[in-house]
């Protein structure tokens, strides 16, 4: 290129294109996003965090939790299961209707021990004609939609994270690494703020083999008061404070625990539906049975 104008023009064209694509376009599309209704409950989602949890978000940012914890779960598609809930009054008609979709289902054993999942289909479009046939036969059925993928199997969420989940976050911290588990739904998995506090003080006390650093600087070691502080941590074994002392969380620790408990991105939304009943994993780190 002989002229500097051409250099600037090239740079300008290239950069303004991506600026339009990755800055302007999402702002136009999502910048005015507002609360939506969950399905089918029609609750508002998301709601702003309560005060202490909002302060905790600042602690989370300030401590750089994002360098080890993502807040973004993914899913590999969905599983749609048709669950027969009521055989209706005309068992023969129901079995005939079901038999059209799968010869095995036409047998009388299908109607025993209801409700049960009878068929797995690719999506809601595939489920519709089956549901229609079942209801014309006088029986009742529903579809259970659940998300699939390693994040779901680990119990880290019930659906993938969507843009709506971040609506009121500032800063939005989806994270880029998982040295520790994803926290998008940590409040659903570990709803007890005291557990969160004990875990922050001594991660290995709560999760065996944890590689997370302890955050002892968020706690105070105090001589045992009379009476003992209500907020003192209940610790045992190697992690317990020396006799005559107690471990008391600072305001920052309590705020952070409140924030962690408030982290749940598990409302069923139009763009990420699920209907499977809630069954949180026993622990973040336990394998799937």
């Amino acid at each position: 290129m002989k002229s500097s104008a051409l250099v600037f023009l090239a740079a300008f064209i290239a950069l303004s294109a991506s600026w339009g694509g990755f800055v302007l376009a999402p702002q136009l599309q999502l910048g005015r996003a507002a609360q939506v209704k969950t399905i089918p409950a029609q609750d508002n989602y998301p709601v702003a965090r309560p005060g202490l949890a909002a302060q905790g978000a600042e602690v989370y940012r300030s401590l750089g939790c994002v360098y080890c914890h993502s807040q973004s779960v993914g899913q590999d598609g969905v599983k749609c299961e048709i669950v027969l809930t009521d055989a209706g009054t005309n068992a023969i008609a129901t079995l005939a209707a079901l038999g059209k979709f799968n010869a095995e289902l036409g047998k009388p054993t299908t109607l025993a021990l209801l409700p049960k999942a009878i068929l797995q289909v690719a999506d809601m479009n595939a489920a519709d004609p089956i549901l229609k046939a079942i209801s014309s036969a006088g029986a009742k059925a529903q579809v259970l939609v659940s998300a699939l993928g390693p994040d779901m199997a680990r119990g880290w969420g019930r659906r993938r994270t969507v843009a709506q989940d971040y609506l009121y976050d500032l800063p939005v911290q989806p994270g880029s690494r998982r040295a520790g588990p994803d926290l998008a739904n940590v409040g659903w998995r570990w709803p007890d703020a005291n557990w969160q506090l004990r875990h922050l003080y001594a991660p290995a006390a709560e999760v065996q083999g944890s590689t997370m650093p302890a955050y002892r600087f968020l706690f105070e070691l105090r001589p045992l008061g009379k009476p003992a502080a209500a907020s003192a941590l209940q610790l045992s074994g190697a992690f317990a404070p020396p006799a005559g002392f107690e471990i008391v969380p600072t305001d920052a620790a309590r705020a952070l625990a409140a924030y962690l408990v408030s982290l749940r991105a598990d409302a069923p939304l139009f763009e990420s539906p699920f209907t499977a009943p809630a069954a949180p994993a026993a622990a973040t780190n336990s394998p799937v049975k």
């Binding site: 002989k2 500097s4 950069l15 910048g31 994002v66 969507v162 709506q164 800063p171 302890a214 799937v288």
Partner: protein, 474 residues
């Protein structure tokens, strides 16, 4: 305009000396400090609770301190310094207003200091690669603009009209950074946008900073230093033009991860752009091979060594970037240490090494021959080069192993985390080598500057105390 006689090289070097001392000297200090934070951050993986009583050195603060000192402390001022030198030398013109550029450089380093204090005190913004709090961001922006203005004035005053490829890259870099940095600071810190748009802006910024700005500034130097060192012309002008266009066209779209909770076209486009980045990278490799081929210049741990290693790292980092943009691979590598390995290879392996090469090429011309110790330079190379490989490769392979274990949900997460520890511990060794190398770089540079000032002082002293009045210098 009347024809101005081309400025002599000595005059150009004189005008560049102080600004480049200010930019390179501060950069070397930040680089050394950054690698100390890198070692601290790394140590957390050896003994998780090592800094449990010290918020400042906890991983969540030491890591962003490492990253920001590396990028804003070292990469940007070093890149600016080399860029200014290229504009002056290639334009055959003295640097315009060197003292204002010195002010800009000092202001920049002050901004980095404010940012570092902010991060350590917990005032990080929470956006990766943009952690420095608002006051620091404003200072950095003003400092960059101050330097950019005089860089541009220097460029317009050039007496050599025809443009050399390095100049395109410098000019584009001068335009790029203020644009992306002001957009990101404005939309994330001053008038924050809502919800996930923040994430999109932050990813766009990081992609443009790491994949475009660093590459532009690094290649500007590569395309100048290689022909200088080998005594062969750049092969070729048109390949360099091709690199320029493809780099800015594709690179600017990179940065958005596959798993982003954004409209699907965005991560898809970003992934495609990441794969396309192979095109400029391959062209760069072709340029380097064609230019260096047949040259008799020994590598010997000098600037040529640094530059060659840098280009190899750029290629490797780009291959990793392209691979991890494929959905089948990103499924495994997303959220693992793989991405960090790629970034480290790009920043340390490519950019820092390019800058080492360029600075070791430029400094002797500023401080006079014999003041930059070639022996320490070689030691610097032989520490940093294996250090980078020891740091980046375990992260890459460890990241793949981590990802493969992760997608098997029957493996408990604690075991997944633990499986990366060995890789991480090897990488600490790399951090340590790099830290020592960076310290040697700092001392080598400072010693050269001090040596220069002492000789200037001696001459001045001799002149002042001479019996006879000193006339025109011979």
């Amino acid at each position: 305009m009347t024809a101005i006689p081309p400025t002599s090289q000595q005059q150009i070097d004189n005008s560049c000396r102080l600004p480049l001392f200010a930019l390179f000297g501060g950069a070397a200090v930040w680089l050394a400090l950054s690698s100390v934070f890198g070692v601290f951050a790394s140590l957390t993986f050896h003994k998780p609770s090592m800094f449990a009583d010290c918020a400042m050195l906890s991983y969540g603060r030491a890591f962003p301190a490492w990253a920001n000192l590396l990028v804003y402390g070292f990469c940007l001022p070093a890149g600016l310094g080399v860029g200014l030198w290229l504009l002056a030398r290639l334009g055959r013109v003295e640097l315009a207003k060197p003292w204002l550029i010195v002010v800009g450089a000092k202001l920049w380093h002050a901004g980095v200091l404010v940012g570092l204090i902010g991060i350590l005190a917990g005032q990080s913004t929470g956006f990766e690669w943009l952690e420095m709090p608002r006051p620091a961001a404003v200072i950095l922006f003003l400092a960059f603009m101050l330097i950019t203005v005089w860089a541009y004035v220097t460029y317009t005053r050039r007496t050599e009209a025809s443009l050399y490829p390095s100049q395109w890259f410098v000019l584009a870099a001068l335009l790029w950074f203020p644009w992306i940095f002001s957009t990101a600071t404005l939309l994330l810190q001053i008038l924050p946008v809502r919800g996930v748009v923040q994430a999109s802006v932050a990813w766009w910024f990081a992609g443009n900073l790491l994949n475009v700005w660093l590459t532009l500034a690094g290649l500007a130097s590569t395309f100048y230093v290689l022909p200088k060192l080998t005594g062969r012309p750049l092969q070729s002008y048109y390949l360099a033009l091709f690199v320029f266009w493809t780099l800015i066209l594709f690179g600017t779209w990179t940065g958005i991860p596959a798993a982003a909770a954004l409209p699907a076209w965005m991560p898809t486009l970003s992934g495609a752009a990441s794969v396309m980045m192979l095109i400029p990278a391959l062209a760069v490799v072709a340029i380097v091979i064609l230019t260096v081929r047949g040259s008799q210049t020994p590598c010997g741990g000098g600037p040529l060594c640094f530059t060659k290693f840098a280009v190899g790292s750029l290629m490797l980092a780009t291959v990793l970037l392209a691979i991890s943009a494929c959905p089948q691979v990103s499924r495994v590598t997303d959220y693992t240490w793989f991405g960090h390995g790629q970034t480290v290879l790009r920043i340390y392996g490519f950019f820092t090494m390019t800058m080492f090469g360029a600075i070791y090429h430029i400094m002797p011309q500023l401080v006079g021959p014999g003041r930059v110790c070639p022996r320490w330079m070689r030691i610097n190379f032989w520490l940093v080069m294996p250090g980078i490989l020891l740091l980046a490769l375990p992260l890459v392979f460890g990241g793949i192993a981590q990802g493969l274990k992760f997608i098997d949900a029957t493996i408990p997460f604690v075991d997944v985390s633990k499986s990366t520890l060995m890789a991480f511990r090897i990488s600490t060794l790399g951090e340590f080598f790099i830290a020592v190398g960076n310290l040697i770089f700092l001392f080598n540079l400072l010693a050269a500057m001090v040596g220069y000032y002492r000789s200037v002082g001696k001459t001045a002293f001799a002149e002042a105390t001479a019996l006879q009045p000193v006339g025109v210098k011979p």
